[in-house]
């Protein structure tokens, strides 16, 4: 049953990922991305990571994608063919890579790894949200704080680069 769900979600994710780059209308691409985000959330649910699934939906599908659609519609990009002349290069790079990986997989197979936590263990461990919170604020406190600095840089950087007329003389 779990394999069946995984197969479905993974298949749809792969398909919509291709559609995102292959569709010519940016709005359709964004909608394909939306479907992709939903299926990634589904994948999280099969792993008993309900909190991540909810965050995935709220943050990616809810916030980021809506912003993205706003920008696309504000710029009124109906059809953009500029980026659709690279099929040959893309195929040249991707097909050998794919074949290579398939050959490797067929030849050796992935060694089964003892992952630190199985889905059942995650579910049994404790409250999902609490587990994430505890890990984030104890074991991974340091990277968590570094991530907060990254957000600070992104925020201030966007303001500096966007406020065009303040601060500099302009005449060179």
């Amino acid at each position: 049953m779990a394999e069946l769900f995984f197969g479905y979600f993974a298949g749809v994710i792969a398909l919509t990922a291709v559609l995102v780059v292959a569709l010519r209308n940016p709005v359709y691409s964004a909608l394909a991305l939306l479907v992709l985000f939903f299926h990634v959330a589904g994948l999280y649910v099969t792993l008993h990571a309900e909190f991540l699934a909810a965050v995935q939906l709220i943050v990616y599908a809810g916030a980021i994608l809506v912003l993205y659609l706003f920008v696309v519609m504000l710029l009124n990009l109906k059809q953009d063919d500029r980026y659709h002349h690279q099929w040959r290069i893309a195929a040249f790079v991707c097909v050998p890579l794919l074949l290579e990986f398939l050959v490797l997989l067929a030849g050796n197979g992935v060694a089964p790894q003892s992952s630190p936590l199985t889905a059942e263990q995650t579910a049994a461990a404790s409250d999902n949200t609490m587990a994430i919170g505890t890990t984030l604020f104890t074991t991974y406190l340091f990277p968590f704080e570094v991530a907060s600095l990254i957000l600070l840089v992104a925020m201030i950087g966007a303001i500096i680069l966007a406020k065009r007329d303040i601060g500099e003389g302009g005449q060179t």
Binding site: N108, S115, T138, T139, V146, L161
Partner: protein, 492 residues
Amino acid sequence: MTFSPGDLFLILPELLVITAACLVLVLDPVLSSSQKDGLAWLSLGTLAICMGLIASQMNHAASAFGGIVIIDAYACFWRLLLCFVAGLTVLLSHTYLREERLYFGEYYGFVLLSLSGMMVMVSAADLLTIYLGTELMSLSLYVMAGLKRSEPRSLEASAKYFVLGAFSSGILLYGISLLYGATGSTRLPAIAAAIAGRSLDDPLLLAATVLLAVGFGFKLAVVPFHMWTPDVYQGAPTSVTAFMAVASKAASFGAFLRVFVEGLGSLKANWSAIFLLVCIATLVLGNIVALVQTNIKRMLAYSSIAHAGYALIGVVAAGVAGTQTGEANGITAVMLYLALYAFMTFGAFTIVAMLRKGGLDGDEIEDFSGLAARHPLAALLMLVFMVSLAGIPPTAGFIGKFYVFMAAVEAGLTWLAVLALVFAAISAYYYLRIIMVMYMREPDPLTAASPRLIMSPALSIVLACAVAGVVFFGLYPSPLVNLAGHAVLTFK
């Protein structure tokens, strides 16, 4: 709780840098424009304190936050170098920004934030943390590259750097996630334990290694992942270019060595083959393309690509060497090379930043014509930096190349050392061309404004530090060699 106050003490230099950065960002809108110099001095003071702190941590190794951060001599070596370069950058920017009319107090905040990212990169022993440090460094650099907003080229540099940087971060992250899948951990010691005795037969491990190599390849700007370098180095304000060319490269090498030596050390036979190819491609392309550049910032960009190639020789030598001393020699050579490279490249970029042509950067090679007649001292300093970059004794550049080539010969890669020597000889052509232009050629009388040189006490200090490093370590390298040898990583 998995951390103690002692952990915070270990990362005190990082904390100080971050605090100073936040202070700069907060104070900037409050201060009047005449007081903004104070922000530069604040940053400089913090960096001086940090260097003192780091030097005191040099002799003992400790880990913090449950093994996520390792403060050992290796981390301290890079952190010391990075703080020093950031200090030089602040001094250089102080005059350069005024000349460019870029009155951004935030600039110093970004230098410090970027520095904190670099310090996280070199002292982290956890792939996730290394990735976050890389992102912190890169995001700050994207913004700094685009600060000269009145110039389209600067914005182009910023956008190009951002897109390619984001792309390479994606690849790096993909590699990290596959490695996590293959080993079940993001900690380097745990990864090393999990893959000990395994080979690349596992496709996950193979894919992860290749993706990590590609991701770091972008950050190190080695061929074939160097495409962004010339455009970004040319478009960014020169002070930022100097910072990127020196500090970001050193930090990337620091993290790269830590990941591949401590984490993936048991796969060294496999990855040294990858880097051998990358190294040769970098040496060939970097040196050949630099020959035809007419813009000095582009030329120095290709030269920095070529220098990453020389440093990679040490990495390959460490991977190939059978003995423990051979491995240590390779890594020491890389660390030494990047430290010496910092002095000469920063010096060269400082002279480029000083040369102004009617309110603009004088960054064409033509602009240097007749410099020796007008500014003999600046021309002499540029001569020293160029001779050093070319690797001619008795300068620091020669010492760097000497140790790298020695490591290669000891590892049985004599042919690689000979090949690199040939390309070093080729590189002498484009470095000596600058000297020729400065000393032999008269400025074109038809061009109206002849380039002038900006001067300030701060710039004098920068140049004095750079030239002192180049000459002193060229004649007497043993303090730095001992420092690098003491800080070297061992293969696990």
